[in-house]
């Protein structure tokens, strides 16, 4: 008998197409898995409204579960409660750092104009002497930083709350 824990462990094998080191479980986009009228219903939530990876994740979840022999599956997208970076797992934060992306600091970028940006340690050398290059990065969820010590340019998975 397949249970929820089993479904979750299979979903660990489905990765975020834009940050392949993270699974959909690490990312915190899978909100629930339950049986409704004999079918598995997987509930997911988008990171950003326009995240182009959501459709791919939905299809990857369906095909992964089919591959595991779970045939009747539906994926449903819900908006509430809204995703925040607090949902990123500890495991996910560690994997991000190893991959060269700085994980979200637990601090929203201040809405005060021209405020000092959040200090984000360099994922390569660990230095805190870094600077924000742009609030907007290669995908909706990232900002662009550069390390003043080792000169490494890197993505910062920005805090969203």
């Amino acid at each position: 008998m397949v249970d929820k824990a089993q479904i979750y462990s299979w979903l660990e094998e489905v990765s975020d197409p834009e940050i392949p080191v993270l699974s959909v479980i690490d990312l915190g986009v899978v909100r629930n898995a339950q049986i409704i009228d004999g079918d598995w219903l997987i509930t997911i939530t988008p990171t950003y409204s326009g995240c182009p990876a959501m459709k791919t994740m939905e299809e990857d979840i369906l095909s992964k579960l089919k591959e595991k022999g779970v045939d009747s599956v539906k994926v449903e997208l819900v908006l509430a409660p809204a995703w925040s970076t607090d949902w990123l797992s500890e495991n996910g934060r560690m994997k991000l750092r190893e991959y060269g992306i700085a994980p979200p600091e637990h601090e929203v970028d201040k809405s005060v104009l021209f405020a000092e940006p959040t200090v984000v340690p360099c994922p390569k050398c660990g230095s805190r002497n870094t600077r924000m290059v742009s609030q907007f990065g290669s995908t909706a969820c990232k900002a662009l930083y550069q390390c003043n010590e080792c000169q490494e340019p890197y993505d910062y998975f920005k805090c969203l709350k």
């Binding site: 988008p46 950003y48 409204s49 326009g50 995240c51 182009p52 819900v78 908006l79 509430a80 409660p81 809204a82 995703w83 925040s84 970028d109 809405s111 104009l113 021209f114 290059v133 742009s134 609030q135 907007f136 990065g137 290669s138 909706a140 662009l144 969203l160 709350k161």
Partner: protein
């Protein structure tokens, strides 16, 4: 239809996001610097994502089988009810930032109130979108100040942008029986404080930017009722091209 007023409200909200998202997307590959090219397309993506959620929900409320693609890409010009402000051409980078700032300063307090809507789906969309809008407003505000309080050239040009776009700002606060109906039935919370909050934001930013609001009182409105400026047809022809040329195509 379950709720005509809610459908019309959602179209207005969704069309604002869609059309401004389309305009910003025109900057893709043309930004003045790479970081800003990426910023504008990211903001565009947020807005188009919001439009998809809002228009999908409008389709559910309408209950005629239309989804965000059908509503977003297959209506005629007079059926779009976005603000005239958001359809104005990109102009130079300053014009684009001024259009964005006037809009962001309005959107943030609007979403902050819609979060408390008694309609659960509208509240959920607002909550999701608000987090993104805070980043947008910070970005556009900082550029207005930087350009206004920058060189003589940038100051003159951003003042010109304000002089050109100001006449479209009164429409942000357009209100009619749609809003009245939804306020009466409790779907919309009290929106009356938005204008003063918006004025406080723009006055504070313009003061730091050392630019001034034009004194003439020209006002242009009509977008909310489907009457658009001459630029809109051209925008639509590009927005709708793929669905018109290849009906029902899937991406």
């Amino acid at each position: 239809m379950k709720n005509e007023a809610l459908f019309r409200f959602l179209l207005r909200l969704g069309d604002d996001s869609l059309i401004l998202g389309q305009r910003l997307a025109e900057w893709c590959g043309h930004g003045p610097i790479l970081e800003e090219d990426i910023a504008m397309t990211n903001i565009s993506l947020d807005l188009i994502g919001q439009a998809m959620s809002i228009l999908d929900y409008a389709g559910v409320v309408e209950d005629k089988g239309r989804d965000c693609d059908k509503l977003g890409l297959l209506r005629f010009e007079s059926e779009y009810v976005n603000l005239l402000l958001v359809e104005q051409p990109n102009g130079d980078f300053g014009d684009t930032m001024m259009r964005q700032f006037l809009f962001d300063a309005f959107r943030k307090p609007l979403y902050e109130r819609l979060v408390n809507s008694s309609d659960k789906q509208l509240a959920a969309i607002a909550d999701k979108s608000l987090k993104e809008t805070r980043y947008h407003l910070k970005h556009s505000s900082e550029w207005i100040i930087r350009l206004g309080d920058g060189t003589e050239e940038s100051h003159t040009r951003i003042q010109n942008s304000l002089d050109t776009l100001w006449r479209y700002s009164s429409e942000l606060f357009y209100s009619d029986e749609v809003d009245n109906e939804l306020t009466k039935t409790g779907i919309l919370p009290d929106l009356s404080g938005i204008r003063s909050e918006w004025e406080a934001t723009v006055n504070s930013v313009f003061q730091q930017a050392t630019i001034v609001i034009p004194t003439n009182n020209w006002k242009f409105e009509g977008g909310r009722l489907g009457r658009h400026s001459e630029h809109f047809g051209h925008l639509l022809s590009e927005l709708q091209y793929m669905q018109r040329a290849y009906p029902n195509m899937q991406w």
